[in-house]
């Protein structure tokens, strides 16, 4: 089991979710985060262009069984890449997951996902 964490643009969330649903990945947790990479997104403040230290991003966390990792990554790549790839599109992180427990039933492991 893996935990897939993706940091994506705020506005591609809907598209990514569609792709994930198409890949039969239904469960997801989303967090509002702020991030800094190479992207410079200007705002205007009283006649001055300012570059905020951090840009708003969305973080997706998806726990999935090993066989779902590649479909999931691909779905995210498809949904989150803008115009063939632009700075700011974000990252996907994959971490090992030792166990997962469904609170409702107490089931554990792969079938709890």
């Amino acid at each position: 089991m893996k935990l897939i964490t993706a940091i994506i643009r705020e506005n591609v969330l809907d598209r990514v979710r569609e792709k994930l649903l198409a890949a039969e990945i239904y469960r997801i947790t989303v967090t509002r985060v702020s991030g800094r990479g190479q992207q410079m997104s200007e705002e205007i403040y009283r006649g001055q262009r300012v570059v905020p230290g951090l840009n708003p991003k969305m973080r997706l966390d998806i726990a999935c069984n090993d066989e779902f990792v590649e479909p999931c990554v691909n779905a995210i790549l498809e949904g989150a890449r803008t115009d063939g790839g632009r700075v700011g599109d974000g990252k996907i992180l994959i971490t090992p997951l030792e166990d997962i427990i469904r609170i409702r039933t107490g089931e554990r492991g792969g079938k709890a996902i």
């Binding site: 705020e10 506005n11 591609v12 809907d14 509002r32 702020s34 997104s41 200007e42 705002e43 205007i44 262009r49 905020p52 230290g53 951090l54 708003p56």
Partner: protein, 434 residues
């Protein structure tokens, strides 16, 4: 010269004139000297401020209903109307609304009114208030009407094109309608159409125009498949509160005096708003099992919209009936919209168009002076004329603005949010760690 509220003001106007006359006589002054009624002036000044308060109120109401990424853009739709219509009104719109009819009465014109130059020290003989106050009060209506339209196509228009649209719409739709209904030589006025505070001019016209524009522009991306949640219902409630308060100026100020007719209009306004709001949540309770805050706020608006044309001619009981009926009809209209599937984002048509029509037509059944078939026909005609004119002209303007400047936001702008793309800002910095 100015016909506004001729029907609703009989009694109290008499009083004012009588008072004016008596002071003039008592002072032995020449009969021409027009005195200022400082009380009426005070209320009209206050009303002007109250109607202006409705614009931030509307910005809050609408702003709370869109998604976070569009909150600034949506509020700016209301705010820029204050700038654009504010400048236009002083420059030429007052002349177009309240000048003498030209081009066969299409709109008015009076070169003296350009930049309001000619009224610098005019006291209106009918109302005993400085004409400036009347002009400013009227100007607020010209500000809020296009701002109402914006609800129909929220979250999907280009800012610059929106600005051009409302400027042109104000000149070609609002000004003529205002002239027809409220100028003494306006043809709907002469027909005897009752529109106390703008059921036709403000609500029907903005509602139908919004509908036309929304249909032309098409739905927001993802509508109706994905639910679009209000970003800040709390602010929507605040806005509804300010709208209710401001509406006292809107309606009671439309009596252009501070007397009995004013009091009647204020009472009708209060009664209709309360009844509309209550009816809406009762309906919801019966239909959905829960009473929502947005429903309450919508009911306030439905009641207020419906009583707008009627405030001068109905008693409190009638006003409550109008408010309650409007709430039911608007509720149904929104359900129907959901069926039909077009995207009137914030229900500008569903509330203002529908509610305004309900008020303008059904008021005949609740008039202080009793029902009159003749009046009923007149009301139907006036509403029909306003709808047809506003719909056709709006369609033309929308098409032209779209072809020339592009009215619909680009797909990317719609996804990224209007706030960032058109304004370079975000509404809630607090959400972001920085």
């Amino acid at each position: 010269m100015i016909g506004r509220c001729a029907l609703g003001c009989g009694v109290a106007l008499g009083t004012v004139l009588f008072l004016g006359a008596s002071s003039a006589l008592a002072a032995g002054g020449s009969p021409e000297a027009v005195t200022v009624d400082s009380g009426a002036t005070a209320w009209m000044l206050t009303s002007t401020a109250l109607v202006l308060l409705m614009v931030p109120g509307l910005a809050m109401f609408y702003g709370g209903l869109v998604r976070s990424k569009n909150v600034i853009g949506t509020m700016m739709h209301s705010f820029t109307a204050m700038g654009i219509m504010g400048v236009l009104w002083v420059t030429i719109s007052y002349a177009m609304c309240f000048g003498d009819g030209v081009l066969g009465g299409w709109f008015g014109w009076n070169p003296d009114y350009v930049l309001l130059r000619g009224i610098d020290d005019t006291i209106m003989p009918d109302f005993h208030i400085p004409e400036y106050v009347f002009a400013m009060f009227q100007g607020k209506f010209a500000i809020i009407t296009p701002a109402l339209i914006a609800g129909a196509f929220a979250e999907r228009v280009r800012f610059r094109s929106y600005c051009i649209f409302i400027a042109v719409w104000g000149l070609l739709v609002y000004n003529p309608l205002c002239h027809w209904v409220w100028a003494a030589d306006g043809f709907l006025f002469k027909m005897g159409a009752i529109d106390f505070a703008g059921g036709t001019v403000v609500h029907i016209s903005s509602g139908i125009s919004g509908l036309v524009a929304a249909l032309y522009l098409g739905a927001r991306r993802g509508y109706p498949a994905s639910a679009m949640h209000p970003n800040n219902l709390v602010m929507t409630l605040m806005g509804a509160g300010l709208l209710w308060v401001g509406w006292f100026g809107f309606n009671a100020g439309s009596s252009v005096q501070s007397g009995l007719a004013t009091a009647q209009a204020l009472t009708a306004t209060q009664a209709a708003a309360a009844a509309g709001a209550l009816m809406w949540i009762l309906l919801e309770g019966w239909h959905q099992g829960k009473a929502t805050a947005l429903g309450f706020a919508s009911g306030i608006l439905a009641g207020l919209v419906a009583v707008t044309p009627a405030a001068g001619v109905v008693r409190p009981g009638g006003a409550m009936a109008l408010g309650a009926i409007a709430a039911c009809v608007c509720y149904g209209a929104i359900l129907l919209k959901n069926r039909l599937g077009y995207d009137d984002s914030l229900d500008a048509f569903g509330v203002h168009g529908v509610g305004g029509t309900v008020g303008a037509i059904l008021l005949v059944f609740f008039m202080r002076d009793g029902f009159s078939t003749h009046q009923f026909v007149v009301q139907l005609q006036a509403a029909g004329v306003a709808m047809a004119y506003a719909a056709v002209l709006t369609l033309v303007i929308v098409i032209v603005v779209d072809k020339v400047f592009g009215l619909r936001a680009s797909a990317e702008a719609e996804m990224a949010g209007l706030d960032h793309v058109y304004h370079g800002e975000r509404g809630y910095g607090l959400l972001n760690a920085n």
